[in-house]
């Protein structure tokens, strides 16, 4: 049988298993990596480790209760999953949520975006071996998380979205106080962004790595920061769902299309989130935060589209008139970004693999559901 000696073809690449258990990947994901020295000449991903099949669960849950499952599609973009599901169901029902609920939803969306982007920044820093930057970003993130817990009741799974509105109603004073409490985080983030964007070693790791051109990004269906970093202006918030029609913000854009550009986009968006939150708190209308939802949903279907931290997400619900929906489906941003990620990986070096995987800010949990 094996003599311990391996016959080799000249110049054949090395084959190594990358993942599913890999400290640099917070989530299980496997690649068959083909390497020449440290250059990646092939990467075949394998997913499925987190696949739960939760879309099918909609057939077993009351359509209104399913939001608690939807929230747990992912613990990072959890609130928006809950809310997106709600938006889709509300569209099906043809109801409009109260104004205060719209504003609170916007507030939490942006809170989530900020914490997600900061989390990403930390993980990315960790992936390229910048431990203290990781520590610093996550420390700033804790302040955001505290605000989430205080206003919504949960640290990562906010749990405040329900069909017809929101389940928590933090007082205006609480919100103001929270905005105040976020100040130090904002200051820290400003400093850390400078490190992220200007430090020589970080630039060495990010600049020119994993470049995707504008055309390619569009073509491959990339969304969110991935697309905007290549210079394509696309932000579903422009559709003005929730309270986005009533706040001002500028779409963050970069043109380089490399890892650094994606980092820059996210950094800009953190600040943008804070500014939207400020506007929302300032304009917060009074009133109820939810509508009573009764009865069965009508037969029909509805799409809802939201801008998640990682990009556009598309929810689809279809009802056959019973308490249980017939089909629920979510097309998550990472799902759309995977082809672009595989493209970006081409010709990278092994040390870039984590960086590139992380700059699309992958969420496998969202992707596999």
């Amino acid at each position: 049988m094996s003599s311990g000696h391996e016959a080799r073809e000249a110049n054949a690449p090395s084959v190594i298993p990358f993942g599913p258990q890999h400290p640099v990947l917070p989530e299980p994901l496997h690649f068959d990596l083909l390497l020449q020295d440290e250059k990646v000449v092939g990467a075949v991903p394998q997913i499925g480790y987190i696949h739960r099949g939760l879309e099918l669960l909609v057939e077993k849950r009351d359509y209104a209760d399913y939001v608690h499952v939807a929230e747990r599609i992912c613990g990072i973009c959890s609130f928006m999953h809950g809310m997106g599901y709600c938006e889709a169901v509300e569209g099906l029902l043809g109801v409009a949520v109260p104004d205060r609920a719209r504003f609170l939803r916007t507030f939490w969306c942006e809170l989530e975006r900020a914490h997600s982007h900061l989390m990403w920044m930390g993980l990315a820093a960790d992936a390229f071996g910048f431990e203290s930057l990781f520590m610093a970003t996550w420390r700033a993130r804790e302040l955001i998380i505290d605000v989430a817990e205080e206003t919504a009741g949960g640290r990562v799974i906010f749990g405040s979205a329900i069909v017809g509105g929101v389940s928590k109603d933090p007082s205006d004073e609480t919100l103001m106080r929270c905005m105040e409490a976020l100040k130090p985080a904002r200051d820290d983030i400003k400093k850390l962004s400078r490190v992220m964007l200007q430090d020589a070693t970080v630039r060495h790791r990010l600049e020119g790595v994993g470049v995707i051109s504008k055309e390619k990004a569009y073509e491959l269906g990339a969304v969110g920061p991935m697309l905007r970093a290549s210079g394509y202006d696309f932000d579903i918030r422009r559709r003005g769902y929730a309270a986005y029609g009533e706040v001002g913000f500028e779409t963050a854009l970069e043109t380089a299309g490399d890892c650094m550009a994606r980092a820059a986009i996210r950094i800009k968006e953190i600040e943008q989130s804070f500014s939207i939150m400020e506007q929302v708190v300032a304009k917060m209308p009074a009133g109820p935060v939810s509508l009573p939802i009764k009865g069965m949903p009508p037969v029909g279907e509805c799409f809802a589209r939201l801008e998640q931290p990682r990009g556009e997400v598309i929810y689809y619900v279809k009802s056959n008139g019973s308490r249980n929906l017939e089909r629920f489906r979510v097309r998550t941003p990472t799902f759309a970004n995977v082809p672009a990620m595989v493209e970006a990986m081409r010709g990278a070096s092994l040390a870039d693999v984590p960086t590139i995987i992380l700059t699309i800010d992958p969420c496998i949990s969202c992707t596999e559901r």
Binding site: H5, A10, H22, H30, F31, Q36, E38
Partner: protein, 638 residues
């Protein structure tokens, strides 16, 4: 007849017998007997003459210069015939030039009477022993290897009789060369080695072999021409053709006159030792069967080149010629080391490392202080033993794995545990303290430091970079050998084709390699220091306590791992599996990859084409080498 003479003629004598015997087994017996006999004679010569060095011998052959001339012309004719048969114009031209030069030169060198035709001193004896012992072991190895070689390569015409003859004669020529004091004689032997190597490199008989053989021939004959021109100039200017006279004169007022002849002879040495820009011939010579490579790289041919350079060291020391030679040497040293990083063919790695090490020897010889000559001599010794061991072990390994690609030696420790041990010892000797080559490099650094010249920091910097790089490719190779992907696999499955001749030579060389590392302080004390004292008036040896440290460390380096290995011999059931990112692993590191496809981990070493691409480094090196060579020739013209 004196012993030196017997030593020199014994190998060709056995060669002749081998040439006429058809039966394989009888011939093998003859060759092995010859190998052992000449090795024994070489040792005997060393032992008996140790007290009375240097021996000065006068050849009593009447009409010696006519014989020499006849020999030169015969060889030129031989080359010419070959060139015509193979339809190659350049070698023909060279042959004609060689003959012409010999005839024309006769005017100056013809009547010169030599005081001593042969001088045997410590340096000669060092080479004699290397040629005898290492060369002899290679011949024993060849007896086993060539049989397997022809079984495996049915396409190659079996010309083993010629092979044995040439190999043995090669040793004879080397003996003559290293003992010659009369430069005309030295040139004659010099040309003989050129011719012998030409035949051996072309042994395979195919296109590539022929091409490489002619490349080697062309460059070395060119070198020979320079040599011959140098002798003529020497004779014309000083009226002498003797090496010791030359060296003595180099310290006197006539030194300036000698610059040109020394430069020309050094050039010949550089060619033969495959320094840049002449390196390609040695790299091309890889096509020859392994014993030939082993012979060319360790005890003969290239060693003849550096031998001449070391001989000339006192004359080059402090002169422009010397500096140029040392720059060519250090350039070759670093280029060879860098280029070896990206080489995948085992023999090529060895060849590049040879080139690199010879570069260092040339550097030392070019600067030519007594300390550096000490270093150079040790480099010659350590390199000869270790390289021979490596080449022949690689040959054996390649038969087992069916490839010369070092990648195919991955995990060789399982398939060929004994050969792996030999290779490990050989590799260790090449790059890691406290083994020979590194001790020499260390001594070289100290010597440069003591040199207190402006070139010192440059040389040290080059040395530092070069030797750091050697770690890269040697350790990589070593790691590759030890890679165990399946610890439960049975051992030694690939060793069935290994003959006992091969094992004998390899084991002997392994022991010899370690022995030289242990015994080198003695060699220094009893051989090199007296020599240096005689020719420089000063002796050099490393600080005794440091030498002792290195010797003790050799002991530890061998003993500690061996001891630990023995202690840890346990049953195999207690082994765990390698870390595979959580993947469940089947024996031999198989895993279920993406899409459910079964894969096996395949790890390849780094070859770093980017920074260390062999092609571009050699190209740059050759360009720089040509420039330096032109400068060298320029000094001749001036």
């Amino acid at each position: 007849m004196t012993l030196p003479f017997i030593v020199a003629v014994t190998p060709p004598l056995f060669g002749f017998i081998a040439l006429i015997i058809k039966d394989d087994r009888v011939r093998r017996f003859i060759v092995i007997t010859g190998a052992i006999a000449q090795a024994a004679l070489a040792i005997a010569l060393a032992v008996t003459s140790a007290h009375s060095l240097p021996l000065r011998l006068v050849a009593t052959l009447p009409g010696l210069d006519t014989w020499i001339l006849g020999g030169e012309l015969a060889m030129a004719a031989f080359i010419a015939v070959f060139a015509v048969v193979k339809r190659r114009a350049f070698p023909l031209l060279l042959a004609i030039a060689q003959a012409a030069l010999a005839l024309v030169g006769e005017r100056w060198t013809g009547g010169v009477e030599a005081q001593a035709h042969f001088v045997v001193d410590q340096v000669s004896l060092l080479l004699v022993i290397i040629v005898g012992v290492v060369g002899g072991l290679i011949l024993v190895y060849a007896a086993g290897y060539m049989k397997t070689f022809h079984e495996e390569h049915a396409a190659v015409r079996d010309r083993r009789r010629l092979f044995s003859f040439t190999m043995l004669s090669f040793l004879g020529a080397m003996y003559g060369l290293v003992m010659s004091n009369d430069l005309r004689l030295m040139l004659l032997f010099w040309e003989m080695t050129t011719l012998a190597s030409f035949i051996l490199i072309g042994y395979g008989g195919d296109e590539a072999a022929e091409k490489s053989a002619f490349l080697a021939l062309n460059l070395n004959v060119l070198g020979g021409l320079a040599f011959s021109l140098g002798i003529i100039l020497l004779a014309a200017r000083t009226g002498s053709v003797e090496l010791d006279v030359l060296l003595a004169a180099a310290k006197g007022p006539e030194a300036a006159l000698l610059a040109a002849p020394v430069a020309l002879m050094a050039l010949a040495g550089l060619v033969k030792s495959a320094q840049l820009p002449f390196t390609p011939w040695l790299l091309g010579a890889m096509v020859a069967p392994t014993p030939v490579s082993a012979l060319l790289h360790s005890s003969t041919m290239v060693k003849a080149g550096v031998f001449l350079l070391i001989r000339l060291a006192p004359a080059m020391s402090g002169t422009t010629v010397g500096y140029i030679v040392s720059f060519i040497g250090i350039l070759t040293f670093i280029a060879g080391a860098f280029a070896a990083v990206s080489a995948r063919n085992a023999k090529r790695v060895l060849a590049l490392s040879t080139v690199s090490n010879l570069g260092l020897i040339a550097t030392c010889a070019g600067i030519g202080t007594y300390e550096l000559v000490w270093v150079a001599l040790f480099l010659v010794l350590f390199h000869a033993v270790a390289k021979a061991l490596l080449f022949i072990s690689v040959g054996t390994a390649s038969v087992g794995t069916g490839s010369l690609d070092i990648e195919s030696m991955g995990g060789l420790v399982t398939g060929m545990p004994r050969i792996t041990l030999f290779l490990i010892v050989g590799i260790s000797c090449m790059f890691v303290a406290p083994f020979g080559m590194l001790v020499s490099k260390w001594a070289a650094m100290e010597a440069f430091m003591n040199l207190n010249s402006i070139v010192s920091p440059f040389m040290i910097a080059f040395l530092a970079f070069g030797s750091a790089t050697t770690v890269l490719f040697w350790a990589k190779w070593m790691g590759l050998l030890l890679r165990i992907t399946d610890p439960t696999a049975p051992r030694g499955l690939l060793e069935d084709k290994v003959t006992r001749y091969e094992l004998f030579s390899e084991a002997s060389l392994t022991i010899l390699a370690i022995a030289t590392c242990v015994l080198y302080p003695l060699v220094s004390k009893y051989a090199f220091e007296p020599y240096l004292l005689a020719s420089y008036g000063k002796a050099f040896g490393l600080d005794r306590s440091n030498m002792l440290v290195t010797v003790l460390m050799v002991g530890m380096t061998v003993a500690v791992p061996a001891l630990l290995l023995i202690i840890s011999r346990r049953s195999k059931e207690g082994l765990s599996t390698a870390y595979m990112s959580g993947r469940v692993t089947s024996p031999g590191l198989g895993f279920k990859g993406s899409k459910g496809i079964e894969l096996k981990v395949a790890m390849h070493s780094y070859y770093l084409e980017g920074p260390f691409g062999e092609g571009k480094i050699l190209k740059a090196g050759i360009a720089a080498g040509i420039l330096l060579t032109l400068i060298l020739l320029g000094t001749v013209a001036i």
